[in-house]
């Protein structure tokens, strides 16, 4: 069905329409610039696409698009000194959280399952209504947006749950003195009872008559008699209950507690991370000291490396992502047999990163073991 006249007309029109069409400078800048790092409140970085503004739909609507689609991805550890106290006002964006074991040793299944239950309990106490979790060599949670801030979630997931009972002397914490504020460290450090952390078992029950929630902290058989002697001698005094150094509660001793059972009243208002951790109890030893790095997506890391100047000839590895970033991010953990779970041998390299470096761990490598990279400090 030749139609030379129509074909000539089409050619003329298309060349006229398209030959001189040029992309905007913003597009070229966006493609050239890829992603850029943006500090997040509470420390750490997130990678955002430096997408060209779309004037026709408004600058604010499309100037920056967060590419935190965590479908396979990487995690970064915030630089030291930046991730401190959580910022409850920061809105949660909804994302994945990965809890990494404290050492390269893989915790056994029993410990991991116990840790999972505890961490789920912490999230529920914080008011995270719906979430999903999965455990392997790391524990992963998918937390929807709209709940507590990501920093708070990270804090409770990584908290060891060490409990200290700290008497607050009236001379320091009486009227006109310092005040112990839930969620914060003591303004004036005081020595804990019994010289350090105590082991408690938390029991929660609902009073069938009043419906009130009752929380009981049960001391061990060793600590109970010592606590009985202390409380008998200090009725009316304040006793701070600290969790990982932050105040969870500041009850007043009403009477001698002889059976080792402390009944406490739940604080009103939004639960603090320390309270959530106290209620759920400490993590198993194998998970105590776990880290919860900041997550960025693999795509973001890809684009980051894409635009990274000076990245040359990444070495061949079985893992595409490893090859992707190996040029500028050197491995700190290595997996001897990637993709082969039983033979997994994961070690921290001799050049373990200082806290000031950024660490990247690939999620898919986490699923198979742990594979870590760091960006050397400049």
């Amino acid at each position: 069905m030749d139609d030379p006249e129509l074909e000539a007309r089409l050619r003329s029109h298309l060349h006229a329409r398209l030959d001189d069409a040029m992309p905007s400078a913003e597009l070229e800048a966006a493609v050239r610039g890829g992603l850029r790092a943006e500090p997040v409140q509470g420390g750490g970085l997130r990678w955002v696409a430096a997408r060209a503004p779309r004037l026709r739909i408004g600058l604010a609507g499309a100037a920056v698009v967060l590419m935190a689609l965590v479908i396979g991805g990487v995690v970064t550890r915030p630089p030291a000194g930046t991730a401190t106290s959580p910022s409850p006002s920061a809105p949660s964006e909804g994302q994945s959280f990965i809890v990494l074991p404290p050492t390269a040793a893989i915790p056994d299944k029993t410990a991991t399952e116990a840790a999972m239950v505890i961490l789920e309990d912490r999230l529920r106490t914080l008011g995270v209504g719906t979430f999903s979790g999965a455990a392997g060599n790391a524990i992963q949670f998918e937390v929807p947006a709209g709940g507590p801030s990501n920093d708070v979630v990270r804090q409770v997931l990584g908290a060891a749950g060490r409990v200290e009972l700290v008497p607050l002397p009236a001379a320091d914490y009486g009227p006109g003195g310092a005040t112990a504020v839930p969620g914060q460290p003591l303004p004036k450090p005081e020595p804990p009872l019994f010289g350090g952390p105590v082991r408690v078992v938390v029991e929660r029950a609902t009073d069938p008559a009043s419906g009130a929630l009752s929380t009981s902290l049960n001391l061990t058989a060793t600590d109970a008699p010592r606590f009985a002697a202390y409380t008998a001698a200090n009725v009316g005094q304040q006793l701070a209950i600290l969790v990982d150094g932050d105040v969870a509660l500041v009850p007043i001793i009403q009477s001698a507690i002889t059976d080792g059972h402390l009944t406490v009243t739940s604080p009103t208002g939004t639960p603090t991370p320390a309270w959530a951790v106290l209620l759920s109890g400490p993590l198993p030893d194998a998970w105590r000291g776990a880290t919860v790095p900041v997550l960025i997506s693999r795509d973001d890391a890809a684009a980051l490396a894409f635009m990274e100047p000076g990245v040359q000839g990444a070495p061949e590895t079985p893992n595409l992502d490893a090859r992707l970033i190996a040029g500028s991010w050197r491995p700190i953990w290595t997996v001897e047999a990637h993709g082969s779970f039983p033979d997994l041998h994961c070690t921290r390299g001799p050049a373990c990163p200082s806290p000031s470096t950024i660490e990247i761990v690939l999620i898919d490598a986490i699923n198979a073991g742990i594979l870590g990279y760091e960006q050397p400090s400049p």
Partner: protein, 174 residues
Amino acid sequence: MLTDRGVDVGALVLARLDDAFRLARAILLDDGDAEDAIQEASLAAWRRRSSLRDPERFEPWFERIVVNQCRDQLRRRNRAVPLAPRTVDLDVAGGGAGSAAERGEDPDIDRALAALDLDHRLVVVMRYWQDRSVEDIASRLGIPAGTVKSRLHHALKRIRGSLEASRAEEARRG
């Protein structure tokens, strides 16, 4: 810029940016959507760079990514392509570029192309703007040459029908 197996994907994308934008614009009929598609395509190219075995084949490889991103863009829009391009050229007396008509632009052709679906518009653009052979188009799109011929046939038939309808409408208006 990152090199991977010796392929500087970033530099190749930037070198093809103008042509890729024009192709996306021809498919999507909208500058903004075309720019979005190209930005997504550039990231997709990076992610899939391991599938580019021969740097010499970058251009058709990237073109296919651009076409797929345009397809996704249309799907995301979830709405019909507008019947006329949103970009309107103004005829300015004394303007160096001349009028749209003088430059060979044809609003009736614009409307006819806009009425085609993506697959038919794509083969028309590749055949009459890129001046590619049927075999080359088939290779680039990964479809049989017969399918390309068929799409071209139906596309031209529909364009001709649109042009005849335009002429009839003009005649009716006198």
